[in-house]
Symmetry: C2
Subunit: 178 residues, 2 copies
């Protein structure tokens, strides 16, 4: 951020009066430009004992496999965001179940949510952001070509919990890669 989005004057990086941390501040019009973490919401769409994954047609991680997920938008709930992303990326209709994983990724200022979900039919297909969409049995999950760590963590929890027969919420922090 170089300029004030209200008045187009240059911004400075300083601690606003009464605040405790530096922000982008416009010294011309006084606007403080707060920046906050973003939410990424996705689902684990299940059909029988198979899980739906999408192969990404966009960067980052073009060509890698992911659960359907994306940035939550203004004007929707977390649950709506998960269902929308599943429809957009996989043209898949789901019954949304409980929130299942919630991980903070501090180094990129994101919080990732995954809901369990039940696919309502097999009429899915790649959305514009996917190269292909497919169902995987546990033994066929492409662990080495998954796009994001929260996808791996969520799938690992899912298969462990499925073996035990219950699905508690998992929350935590994804540590930096090194």
């Amino acid at each position: 951020m170089n300029f004030c989005s209200s008045c187009a004057q240059p911004v400075t990086w300083q601690v606003p009066e009464g605040d405790s941390r530096p922000r982008h501040v416009c010294v011309s019009c006084g606007t403080v430009h707060y920046q906050n973490p973003k939410m990424v919401v996705g689902t684990i769409p299940v059909w029988g004992d198979q899980v739906l994954l999408c192969r990404r047609a966009i960067n980052p991680r073009h060509g890698f496999w992911t659960l359907p997920a994306g940035f939550m938008e203004n004007g929707e709930s977390t649950a709506q965001a998960g269902a929308r992303e599943t429809l957009e990326e996989a043209n898949a209709r789901i019954e949304l179940l409980d929130l299942y994983t919630l991980y903070s990724i501090v180094q990129v200022d994101q919080v990732h949510f995954y809901y369990r979900a039940r696919l309502l039919d097999l009429d899915f297909s790649p959305g514009v952001e996917s190269l292909e969409v497919a169902l995987f049995h546990e033994q066929d999950i492409p662990w080495d070509t998954l796009a994001f760590r929260t996808v791996s963590v969520t799938l690992k929890h899912f298969f462990e919990d499925r073996a035990r027969g219950h699905f508690p919420l998992h929350t935590g922090v994804l540590p930096p890669l090194r």
Copy 2:
């Protein structure tokens, strides 16, 4: 948003190529300025059978009572945000317990999180954003002067669940006021 924060030229409100919804777009440098919902994180600090509340010294809802909570900042986890806000608003040290309520408030583009928490000592006091901080028994909760609906909803769940002896996660959407 009137001007591009990268190059200071005026922005337009249009659907970027390959996107499905309008954004603030700079036609000069091509930057798309995404706006996404924000997270508010707080705690329910408990001491014995009492709950800690803060009376707000700032707007909105100056003078009303709230659980300690505030906007999640870049560079922290949801759990750290809850503990930080509790320290800032009430100078209170806590042991953070499980995530307890998670509500989307679609009309203001926010998601509110509350964690259960155990106060570690009685050495609390008003932070700069609080007029006073106090412990309340259930029968003394100032229901008519609570600052926010997610505070009321969280406290109602809390006292109901405490009577039952277990505290499941509650998630949902806060409907518009009318």
